[in-house]
């Protein structure tokens, strides 16, 4: 097992390459999904404000 990870003395280079790729790909997926989530929340909030019935002055003072 440890022989496998040693990669004939090139372990640092081989795993440094594969590791960086895995890390970046996973990070990219997380970021893209997060961006989509944030965008949807933002736009939905905007839409709620746009479609909400206009606030009347009495209601405002009643708060």
């Amino acid at each position: 097992m440890s022989e496998f990870f040693a990669m004939g003395g090139y372990g640092l280079y081989v795993w440094g390459s594969f590791g960086a790729m895995a890390l970046l790909m996973v990070a990219e997926v997380i970021i893209v999904r997060q961006q989509r989530h944030d965008m949807l929340t933002r736009l939905r909030r905007m839409e709620r404000q746009r479609t909400a019935p206009p606030v009347s002055p009495e209601k405002e003072s009643g708060k």
Binding site: M7, Y10, Y13, E47
Partner: protein, 251 residues
Amino acid sequence: MNSRLINWFKLSSPATFYPFAGRMVPWFSWIAIILLVIALYLSFFVAPTDYKQGEGYRIIFIHVPVAWMSMFIYVIMAGWAAVGLVYNTRLSAMMSEALAPTGAMFAFLSLWTGALWGKPMWGTWWVWDARLTSSLILLFLYIGFIALKSAIEDPRRADRAGAILLLVGVINIPIIYFSVRWWNTLHQGATIKMSGQTSMDETMLIAMLIMTFAVWAYTIAVVLLRVRTIILERERDTTWVRTLLQEGNRR
């Protein structure tokens, strides 16, 4: 013929493309995961040890697919840029915008894996030979494109400026590809040649090609996901996006 043409134009409208992209994402995600697993298995457990570089050569299984992808994504972006400039389609600029971060990531990875491969084999992390330098310029083109687009406020002007940068920069792609043939470089020549002659063991080649397809599927999945976000943002005032959001709010 005619109906096919109409379908293409229909698909290029963001309102039709948005749900279509949404349906495609899970498919390509699964294809990417399955191919990645197969490619990794072949790379480490099936492909034989190289006669000269021992186990260290296994970096090739990601270095080459990643480098190809970084060039290929740029060509696709430039293609979208040309379409956008000529036909004024809204989707094309969104597509190149969605492709850019993934392209930059692969350009960076090709340099990173190349450095980690060069150090033990050549004896250096980096040299300023034609292949390596032109690959670095590719990364700068990606970063320049992203920076340019975010620096210009007006989206239509940003799209046009970005498209022109992409088209000018596309000249770098043949330079990267042919650099090892045109000039004396430290980087070796192409293993996979256009003429079809390949100087690689068959199992190694298969592992590398499957990894390439895996990276393709990954790119398609992640770019479609990203373009959906971009479509939502840029079409937020259209009725179809507003209807979509209202449905989301009701839920």
